[in-house]
């Protein structure tokens, strides 16, 4: 048993935390949120320079990390700063799928920050079901509709799942490909997504199946849990500061017992959330990995709701205003529940997997 970060990961964490603290304050982020693209190319390039994207890939793939704990370290820091750049979808999910397909040249560009990807898997009535794919592939031509595709507008390439006969397979679709329609929109917690329609759109088969998608999806789950944890740490820290700053009847409101006890409960649950992320990252190679991931995503979902709601409530009015840091952070936390399966979805999956 060992609960210490390796030296490399500790350094990555320190570097990234310092960079984001200095470069990714509320004002900067609000500018990014208000921008047309919904993300900053400069930040992206700088994160690539810092090695943040490379940390998501193994040495075999041209990176210098790629394990569960590398991903957890990176996304916890991104979450702590409320980063809206679509690193999870573009670099991690997209990049690891291309790495699995052996597209080493593409992966190199992803690590370098030059290539942007989108992964178009979910469909309008598929909700969180991974095997729900009605998009068809016929002779390398894709037809169907994909729902809430993150980063679709900015992506140079899109990875699209489709059914070729009974088999779900993944295809690479180029930006501007024929029959590809992208209807973009902003997201509540920042960034942009799109409804993507394919109409006989040419796609390059990646030689990947649903199983490969599921493998990448596991990494996305670690990342999403870690990101939510980081955001919860910020929400808790903001609340703690506020409770000690804001006064009523001449004393900090945090010294009133009801709020103090509720704050304690948040801190306890935060430790639980931290353990959930450690479990997600630590059991990723375990034969029960999916069960552990569902346990973690469920717990992160439950604790996330509690932390977001309690942080807002204990702040009071100020937390209801868009310009206050917590507003954005709380949205990141709650919206994390809408990605890769929500609290109930993973509760159900945990029950099925633990009964098996």
């Amino acid at each position: 048993m060992d609960f210490n970060l390796t030296e490399e990961r500790q350094m990555l964490q320190d570097t990234l935390r310092r960079y984001l603290r200095e470069q990714y304050g509320t004002a900067r982020r609000n500018d990014i949120l208000a921008s047309d693209t919904g993300f900053s190319a400069d930040i992206w390039a700088e994160l690539a320079d810092l090695g943040v994207l490379g940390a998501l890939f193994t040495e075999d793939m041209g990176g210098f990390g790629g394990a569960g704990f590398d991903i957890a370290v990176v996304f916890e820091e991104l979450g702590r700063a409320g980063v809206v750049e679509p690193i999870l979808d573009s670099a991690l999910l997209g990049g690891r799928l291309l790495a699995a397909a052996g597209k080493t040249d593409f992966v190199e560009q992803v690590i370098g920050g030059a290539l942007h990807l989108a992964v178009a898997h979910g469909e309008p009535d598929g909700r969180y079901d991974l095997d729900h794919v009605n998009t068809t592939a016929t002779d390398g031509k894709l037809t169907g509709r994909k729902a809430v595709v993150m980063n679709a507008e900015a992506a140079d390439h899109m990875i699209v799942s489709a059914k070729d006969g009974d088999t779900i397979a993944l295809y690479l679709v180029d930006k501007g490909a024929q029959g590809l329609d992208i209807q973009g929109y902003p997201l509540l917690a920042g960034g942009r997504a799109a409804e993507v329609t394919l109409d006989n759109t040419p796609g390059d088969p990646l030689g990947l199946t649903l199983e490969d998608y599921e493998a990448a999806n596991r990494l996305a789950l670690i990342a999403q849990c870690a990101e939510a944890l980081g955001a919860m740490e910020t929400a808790t820290a903001l609340t703690k500061d506020y409770l000690m700053t804001r006064k009523q009847f001449g004393r900090p409101i945090g010294t009133f017992q009801a709020l103090a006890h509720r704050m304690s409960d948040l801190l306890i649950e935060l430790e639980q959330a931290r353990s959930a992320v450690i479990n997600a990252a630590g059991y990723i190679e375990d034969k029960h990995a999916d069960m552990h991931l569902s346990a973690s995503k469920n717990l992160i979902g439950r604790i996330g709701r509690l932390v977001a709601e309690e942080a807002i409530q204990m702040h009071g009015g100020i937390a209801m205003t868009q310009e206050y840091e917590l507003a954005h952070i709380a949205k990141r936390i709650v919206m994390a529940d809408h990605r890769f399966g929500d609290t109930d979805y993973h509760l159900e999956r945990f029950i099925a997997l633990s009964a098996a």
Binding site: R127, P186, E195, A258, M320, D337
Partner: protein, 399 residues
């Protein structure tokens, strides 16, 4: 004990239902259903329709042009209106200022201001809260200094709901700086077009523009706009806070919200079956439905006491706490129900964004509403304040 409506009440319910079916504009109802922001014109249109029917000032005495409904009648209207997706009646003139003027205003003030509330000449907003004062109204700092026939007002109000549409604001201002906390406060009516009044929007976390800051810099207010006596404003404010405390549970809104959740969950897919058949989701829905059903009865009990002349005290605080928890839980269920489609962002505050948002379940901006309704447990006396009141009154042997 009898839980059903009397024949008279049933007849009234039919009347209300018919009116809503006939006269509620469908474009407005659709906006309410999808939680799209109503324009000022939408709200004024609906007020005019209600006023035309004599149902706008539901709690006013008939002598002032009110409908003078009983508590039960108002409950019936609220329930039916929520079910029909009617907009809520903007309360500042009708439920808040009106009763204060009727009780404490001069004859001149009543004759001047009350008809203008009914016919929509004035749009009122409320100037109570101040930055840093939280739920503690007694510590307010906005000053009004008498100068001949005028008061000179300086200070800042905040959380002013729909202040961007208002031409008039009723304010609590400090007129005696030497008096203790709750004394030395006066109740003043201020024309917002007076020089020195500035309204600045506050954008809420879901991107909506509902509330504002209102700044006063050397604003001249005629003394005839003082309501009642100088330095007695706290009494009038308290009257307003204890008056009109039924309906705080928001039963009608919750019932309409739960209906919407069920509709969405019947349409939403979950592993190839309707989400509503998923036992975990169904359990959440059932529990909040059971909670709501009990609270509706609690609400009726309080209304029935009010009808019998008893002032609702603690029960109002209890309803506000439980009502906000239930509504927020329903908001949470709605955002869960739509799955990934909770993420797209619709906001009037983001230009043109409303048009392009996919919404295959026809649910409206449920995640935005989830965040917006966190206000229910914060504004108007937070749940913590309410719990404090309940404990204080109960523990001192009051109940």
């Amino acid at each position: 004990m009898d839980l059903s409506y009397s024949p008279d009440e049933q007849a009234f319910q039919t009347q209300v239902r018919q009116f809503l079916a006939d006269d509620l504009p469908q474009d407005i109802a659709e906006k309410v259903r999808l939680d799209t922001d109503l324009t000022k014109d939408d709200m004024e249109r609906w007020h005019a329709i209600l006023n035309n029917r004599g149902w706008l000032a539901q709690n006013w005495p008939q002598e002032y042009g009110g409908a003078e409904w009983s508590a039960v009648q108002r409950h019936i209207y609220d329930t039916e209106a929520a079910d029909a997706n009617a907009p809520r009646i903007v309360p500042f003139g009708l439920s808040m200022l009106g009763p204060v003027l009727q009780k404490f205003g001069s004859k001149d003030q009543q004759d001047h201001w009350l008809p203008r509330i009914l016919d929509g000449t004035d749009w009122w907003c409320q100037g109570y809260s101040e930055p840093g004062a939280g739920s503690d109204l007694a510590s307010l700092k906005t000053k009004a200094v008498r100068d001949g026939d005028h008061y000179i007002v300086n200070g800042q109000k905040t959380w002013t709901t729909l202040g961007q549409f208002a031409n008039m604001i009723f304010c609590l201002v400090r007129t005696d700086p030497d008096a203790k906390q709750q004394e030395g406060i006066s109740f003043l009516l201020i024309d917002m077009e007076t020089p020195g009044v500035e309204v600045r929007p506050i954008i809420l976390l879901d991107g909506t523009h509902e509330v504002n800051e209102v700044w006063f810099t050397d604003v001249k207010v005629p003394v005839e706009n003082l309501v009642g006596e100088e330095n007695k404003g706290w009494t009038y404010a308290k009257y307003l806070l204890t008056h009109e405390r039924t309906g705080l549970g928001g039963v009608g809104f919750s019932q309409a919200g739960l209906k919407a959740v069920k509709r969405i969950a019947k349409a939403a897919n979950h592993n190839g079956k309707p989400l509503i058949q998923n036992p975990h989701f169904a359990a959440r829905v059932a529990q909040v439905e059971i909670d709501l059903h009990a609270m509706a009865t609690t609400n009726l009990r309080i209304i029935s006491q009010a009808a019998a002349g008893e002032a609702p005290g603690l029960e109002a605080s209890m309803l506000k706490v439980k009502g906000s928890i239930i509504r927020q839980e329903i908001n949470d269920l709605a955002r869960r129900a739509v799955g990934p489609y909770a993420m797209p962002f619709a906001s009037e505050a983001v230009e043109g964004a409303n048009d392009r948002i996919p919404d295959p379940l026809d649910a409206g901006p449920v995640a935005g509403q989830y965040f917006n309704n966190r206000k229910l447990s914060i504004f108007g006396g937070s749940n913590e304040i309410q719990r404090g009141i309940i404990a204080k009154v109960t523990m001192s042997g009051g109940a």
